[in-house]
Symmetry: C3
Subunit: 144 residues, 3 copies
Amino acid sequence: MRSLTTEAKRAIFARMVPGGDILTTFEAVALKHGIRAGQLTLIGAVSMAILGFFDRESMEYKTFTVDKDLEVVSCTGNIASTHEGGLIVHAHMIVADQDGRCYGGHLMPGCEVSVTIELIITEMSEDVQRAIDEATGLNLLNIK
Amino acid sequence: MRSLTTEAKRAIFARMVPGGDILTTFEAVALKHGIRAGQLTLIGAVSMAILGFFDRESMEYKTFTVDKDLEVVSCTGNIASTHEGGLIVHAHMIVADQDGRCYGGHLMPGCEVSVTIELIITEMSEDVQRAIDEATGLNLLNIK
Amino acid sequence: MRSLTTEAKRAIFARMVPGGDILTTFEAVALKHGIRAGQLTLIGAVSMAILGFFDRESMEYKTFTVDKDLEVVSCTGNIASTHEGGLIVHAHMIVADQDGRCYGGHLMPGCEVSVTIELIITEMSEDVQRAIDEATGLNLLNIK
């Protein structure tokens, strides 16, 4: 186990507008407020969800689409930066349809905001970095 | 995207007692501690869940009931206030039955605490306001 | 309803290594950093999940195993201490398989980290205690 100690600074509340893409808007909020590391959570609704599952045989994300109106019943994750200065949002989302049936996975591009998405980002005082892990090819948290 | 910057102040841990209603108790905790804006999360168990799904055709919440003992496996959301001084708790909940089957939706009145509910509210230093959105009739976050 | 007021101190980001047990590693992170009370959230992936459901007839946790690669799509909970000085991690987890199907319950020993688990603990400034509740035999939050 590797760990890093930091502290919460600001909390950003944001409301995403209908038609927007959740992941893109996450990045826009982080950029607007100069956030380099954080924790995130959101609830709301989407008209379509694209979620991922990391397949350890092919070492790739497989994605699936749930193409209907959905409540976003949970979405939690973190924001970290790369050595090159980029930001990576890593979040997992659970959506539910009108019968309450749940679908969960890795948040992918293509999740389209419908009525509203209400996001809270807790900004951290220290940079949290990611770097490519040779075993998986994934950008894992690069902490000691 | 609209956003607002604030900071976490106090964290309130609360334990709900069997037979109580989750949403009503949320509001009681917020009132007791004078909380005007916050982030919330809880886990625990209920003997019955009533959850909602916003139907964009009728522009109303449709509700469904899961009438059995359930673990509350996730419940996240926020607390904001109205122009008139009222408080609105907006939370989405996921419950699981004895086989792990999950049901998710908008937290409605009528979710009855069974063994325990353990709640954490993070209070924010700035008011977060809601106002009626004309397009949906919903009380959306009123931030710029 | 009973409640206790505290404040967030440090935030600990931790990355769990493949093959580790989630609950055991939680406890190791808390011990390493001297955490006595906190809030926790994580996302990642496991090769196997063991989850529990509290059965109010037998007054025991019944467990079930989901024995395949899974995304951990939500895991939230808290850390508190016992009168005797021990730490108790109480968390509920939701996992999803490659089709997005979700399983949720009480986090039990035996959930094995696969690719990565990314954990954030928010440490609280006050001790939060648990004590045996006579009615259920469970270690419930002992707050007034």
